[in-house]
Amino acid sequence: MTAADPCFLTVAEAASLIAAKQLSPVELTRAYLDRIERLNGTLHAYVRVLHDQALTAARMATEEISAGHYRGPLHGVPIGLKDIYDTAGVPTEGGSKLCLGRIPASDATTTTLLKKAGAILLGKLTTWEFAIGGTAFDTPFPPARNPWNVERDPAGSSSGSGAAVAAGLCAAAMGSDTGGSIRWPAAWCGLAGLKPSYGRVSRAGIMPLSFSLDHAGPLTWTVEDAAIMLQAVAGHDPRDPASADRPVPDFRAALAAPELRGIRLGVARSMFERDCVASDETRAAFDRSVEVLRGLGASVTEVELPPLALYGAAAYLIARGEGFAIHEKTLRERPEDYGALARDRLMIGAYVRASDMVQAMRRRRMLAEATAAAMAEFDAILLPTVPDAAPLLAELGPYFSSERPPYMRPFNLTGQPALSVCNGFDRLGLPLSLQIVGRCFDDATVLRIGHAYERATPWRERRPQLQ
């Protein structure tokens, strides 16, 4: 481990050096700010860089640590927040003209918790408009670019979070996931992206899109870093009515077991070989991943889940109904201030009838019960995160994700923890991904499996080449 390239240290590595006083938070923060200055004009990962504020916080962290008041593994570590996370006194604009100049009076609960853990906020990260507007060119901020190939989409809606972590523009970032918006950019940017269990992480102070499908979680270079971030933000929050009052385990300690003996994994093959056939390279990488996990001692058999389209349909109706409820007033009063994609994707929710919504919620319950029953024999389910590697920005159409639906929405519907990890690269050098889905509130097992996989494979040694 070396501090020669501090922007490519993992959170865990940076924390070790900071704790040992071999790396100062000021030095680390300056390195990131310099790199952002060089690359953000190309990648558009940040919509706002908090240069002075970050350096002030870094100086304070350095002083605290020097005085012996070390808070833990995020102390002095620079991070970014998707620009739907409220930050007191700092604009939080949701990627929309409608919110330009919006300055929250208080922090999101997660923002507060990360600051309390000592993290340094480098800035606010690009998001799809209101986390739904797709990769768009008619909103106030240009879309983020994929660091593995800047002509390609980093995915979204946490697009800046994915691009920034992959490009070494922050050590870790927070995103949100209503239908895959953490795991999707993690997949296309070659990261670990965790959608925690519904209720595990507070959404208070994060712009909502769909109350019963929204999740907050981290995007990081490694699974260990995701565990560190989750530890900081997990826990009950009375400000979020969906927040669960359940014990928070030591997620990092759960990573200690190097093998997976006794772990039972189910491959949801029908989803990516029948319902939406994944690319040859995605399926080949998946099969290789299964062999790695078997080699670590896990037992792997197949699990049959309900059809992907059924989960997708129920999730779509609920998301659109809830989204329209949130945006109805502004859609009626200022429709021209939305980007075209966000406007259509939100306005279609007006046509979801009350009975449609109730039937979708009935279907949701049936699907959640069927999924739980299928998981009775398993500790986790395996499937790819998405069917394909990142496409060219020029190839994206408005119905891209419905033509090739990713494999993530089922677990927004059921609330299960789901982790995307990099499981190789295609012939163009673009990241491929594996999704690991656990039982509700068993985030620790998901992290354990992902960490063991990462340690047994070489994928964390490769970084995007950016000049």
Partner: protein
């Protein structure tokens, strides 16, 4: 209710008093067709006792939220 799905979309748009911007009608109409397909897929032919996912996590042993 109007006969064709296009007419149904137009009728509902009027009923909902939505103001569509120039060019939006065609893209929203396409989305409407997809929406009705999803409604059909979700279905409505459930036994009477199937309740919606009120609390969302029907996992055996899971604690109910306050």
């Amino acid at each position: 209710m109007a006969d064709s799905i296009e007419a149904q979309f137009t009728a509902e748009t009027v009923l909902l008093a939505l103001r569509l911007l120039p060019g939006q009608e065609s893209s929203l109409a396409a989305a409407y067709v997809a929406l009705r397909e999803m409604v059909a897929l979700v279905g409505a032919d459930y036994p009477m006792e199937v309740e919606p996912a009120h609390v969302f996590l029907p996992i055996a042993g899971a604690e109910r939220r306050p």
